[in-house]
């Protein structure tokens, strides 16, 4: 099946919108009783909504899953093109990510991982292109350079962040962490600038922009420190957790299991291509109205709409001030992720940073396609942002600038423009300064019969697939428990 989402460019066909995915669901709905009353309506079929719908239906609730897109996965999905998976958003997982690994384990997919890095091919080095020129170094030297730079960045407490954030699932366990959330990445870089060599500064800025997809001034230092903490407070941990292990069949091969299991309960109704207009909580029930005019009724709502999109849904009664304030601030991630299939086989072992001159900053050889070409994945940010489908020539140039002379034979480009996506308005959550200190609890709070669940406000792997599952499980558990206690629903037991 082909999704409306994503873009594919090839020399033969040029740029075309829409790419295939096993996450596309057909038929688009199984709803036969338009006036049914549900125990819970789940808005959004990303990992969070899928988890919520699965857990709720497993526990005996009648569930309606509504999704604006034609596919599952939300900001995380894969497209299998000519027998090769491209990850459109979200890619890497690890056995130390608890919520995602529990599912990998439960679905017995532990042996379906492959690694992005493969340092056994010809162009086996790291390339750093800065204003000062271009340099190549071994991957060992690359690791030392990044580790040194990041170590200086995070070392606010003489313990590389361990003292200020000893329990990352409880981010403000040490109250002083709250003050630190006033800092942007730029603030922290300014403070340590004398300690950084030019190369350290370049890779540090490139790496934190890779993580945030934002700008140095716009991104929270503390949120980066949280990433660092969940990665075990080391650069090696960042590599292991953030960018090493991916699904050999593409991650939609994982997400589809949640949907299928929920369906197997026979308690899951769903409607795709059904964006939501409004949520009206009448106390004894909640009405959800879609843009197409259909209205659905339920005892509870689990709303997994991302922070940056929540302002497009009308809530009655209106959302409280704290939540509105968080929505007004929003998150800062406008990551540009571009897959390029290039003719040089040897580039499989290449990695590079090109900064600050290029819209694509950080890139790695990520695989070898069935045709024997190298698959390179490249990331840009809001700092020097580009809309690939609107600026195709600049996008090619940005790919080629990553390794001049080595990237000329581009056979294919694949990408999803998350910034222009009305149901995402950005990529994974990354906080600006103060948002988490001021509003994390507001974002997590329920509003009457409406629960809000999203990786955007998860406690541990916030922004990751893992955080989405954490949140979906939390919401389903809360709804199940509440409905059972209130005896407001006749659980199908």
């Amino acid at each position: 099946m082909t999704s409306r989402d994503g873009y594919l460019w090839t020399e033969q066909a040029g740029l075309r919108p829409g790419i295939p995915s096993i996450g596309v669901i057909a038929p688009a709905t199984n709803v036969t009783s338009p006036n049914a009353f549900y125990d819970v309506v789940v808005i959004g079929a990303g990992y969070c909504g899928l988890t919520a719908a699965r857990d709720a239906s497993l526990s005996g609730l009648n569930v309606l899953l509504l999704e604006a897109r034609d596919r599952i996965g939300g900001r995380s999905w894969s497209s299998n093109i000519d027998g090769y998976p491209f990850e459109m958003g979200g890619t890497w997982v690890h056995w130390g990510q608890p919520h995602v690994w529990r599912e990998i384990s439960r679905y017995q997919m532990q042996n379906e991982l492959k690694t992005s890095f493969d340092f056994s091919h010809g162009v086996n080095h790291f390339q750093l292109n800065t204003a000062g020129g271009s340099a190549t170094m071994s991957h060992e030297e690359e690791d030392s350079l990044f580790a040194s730079a990041l170590g200086k960045f995070v070392n606010v407490d003489g313990a590389f962040g361990r003292n200020i954030m000893p329990q990352p699932a409880n981010m403000f366990h040490v109250p002083k962490a709250r003050e630190l959330d006033n800092l942007s990445a730029q603030d922290r870089i300014d403070a340590i600038a004398p300690l950084l060599s030019p190369n350290e500064r370049a890779v540090l800025e490139g790496f934190v922009l890779l993580c945030s997809g934002g700008t140095l001034k716009g991104m929270s230092f503390l949120e980066f420190l949280h990433w660092w903490a969940i990665c075990g407070y080391t650069y090696q941990g960042c590599l292991d957790y953030l960018i090493t292990y991916k699904f050999s069949g593409g991650q939609s091969s994982f997400a589809i299991n949640f949907f299928k299991e929920a369906l197997s309960t026979k308690r899951l109704s769903y409607a795709f291509s059904t964006p939501i207009k409004s949520v009206n909580d009448k106390g004894s029930k909640v009405e959800v109205t879609a843009r197409n005019g259909h209205t659905y009724q339920a005892a509870r709502i689990i709303c997994t709409v991302p922070l940056n999109v929540l302002s497009t849904v009308s809530f009655d009664p209106p959302l409280p001030a704290g939540k509105c304030a968080a929505i007004g601030v929003g998150h800062v991630n406008q990551c540009v992720k571009v897959h390029a299939e290039v003719g040089d086989k040897a580039m499989r072992s290449w990695t590079g940073v090109t900064y600050p001159s290029n819209p694509l900053i950080y890139a790695i050889g990520d695989g070898t396609t069935p045709a024997g070409n190298t698959h390179v994945v490249a990331f840009g940010a809001d700092q020097h942002h580009i809309q690939p489908e609107e600026k195709l020539a600049e996008t090619f140039a940005a790919v080629q600038n990553l390794a001049p002379g080595k990237m000329d034979a581009v056979r294919r480009l694949v990408f999803h423009n998350w910034s222009k996506d009305e149901f995402a308005k950005g990529a994974w959550f990354f906080s600006p300064p103060k948002l988490l200190a001021d509003h994390l609890e507001d974002m997590r709070a329920r509003h009457g019969n409406v629960y809000f669940a999203s990786s955007d406000w998860a406690l541990l792997w916030r922004s990751f697939i893992d955080g989405a599952i954490e949140e979906g499980a939390r919401a389903a558990m809360a709804v199940k428990t509440e409905l059972a206690e209130a005896d407001k629903v006749n659980l199908r037991l």
Copy 2:
């Protein structure tokens, strides 16, 4: 409620068997229809059986949970004595342990962790007592010594184990790992002996015996390497994962949530103090006969009996050769874990290794009791084994030898003798050489309508609470899927 398990010694009362726990279940059974036919009988109410029973009952199956003891938790439980929790077996958890953390997160217990180490008190050092004498060093020096010694031990591949075991949930992903399972810890120590200082050798042997509870010759080197890999391939990771974070209310406050949630489905029947004699698979159904003569019938069985105890249950048809071989070998862990409450407040920050002369090898200050005393937890192994309740004087001496002159005022001892426990026959699983390479798949295999689930053969955090949950979830998922597909049971949907 007071369990039959465990021992408590105080000066006033002397040695008494049985200690309190919120894991004791009363009434001991809720079975009202002795001839009921169940979808699944789960044998054992440790974390594995609790998870299996919970997941199966949540998914619509009628479940009978049978347990030999008077309490939940199996080899992992806590006793709250005078307002202070003592962990009788299993203690530490971490957010990077996926299966356990998913549950901590789902039960919203993320903020109920405290740390074992607290290096802010008076006796703030590491004490190493060896044949060569006694030395004290700072905790930083302690960490350097352990890290250096362990680094030499695990570095079989020039990459500290990363190359030989890059995917620890898939232990034999690199086939060469299989050969390595021929080695005992002693074999590996012999190979690197010239590289080790006397102090390095002492702490290395002490640490690996802490992990295995066995003997150096009897324990598998590869299984230790697996522990090292899941801890992130660093000594700091070992500290973080193995011995730092515990439940502030004791871990039985965690386990009870599984039981309560399963009960809330109204599909859980249970009987405690009901040891099993035999399992008879008749093809169309399975009969489980208890020692008390009661027989229970079900479509499927999930047997969570530990490896070392499986020989006490009679199976018809008999278990296949591979499984019998694994049972015949057994695991090697005869850990002795003793809690001592000592009068010296300052010992809170102390850690120590006393080796090889003492039955208790590794100990740390683990907390401060309500009375203001220091709670020290100490570990021994099969190497120089002691049965504390039979050798009380030697046990006191073993505690006092850990820090001569500092441990004299022992106010209380608390322990569970796992070696003498007929339902455990040892502590957490630790493999001898070859068992995993030869029989991991045999241990994991089903036998007709009987599924075998245990942390003893988990893939990732084998031997840990995490592995028990991994296995319970696997078994429940398999039974649920099979019964739904076979339509052999009328799921209560």
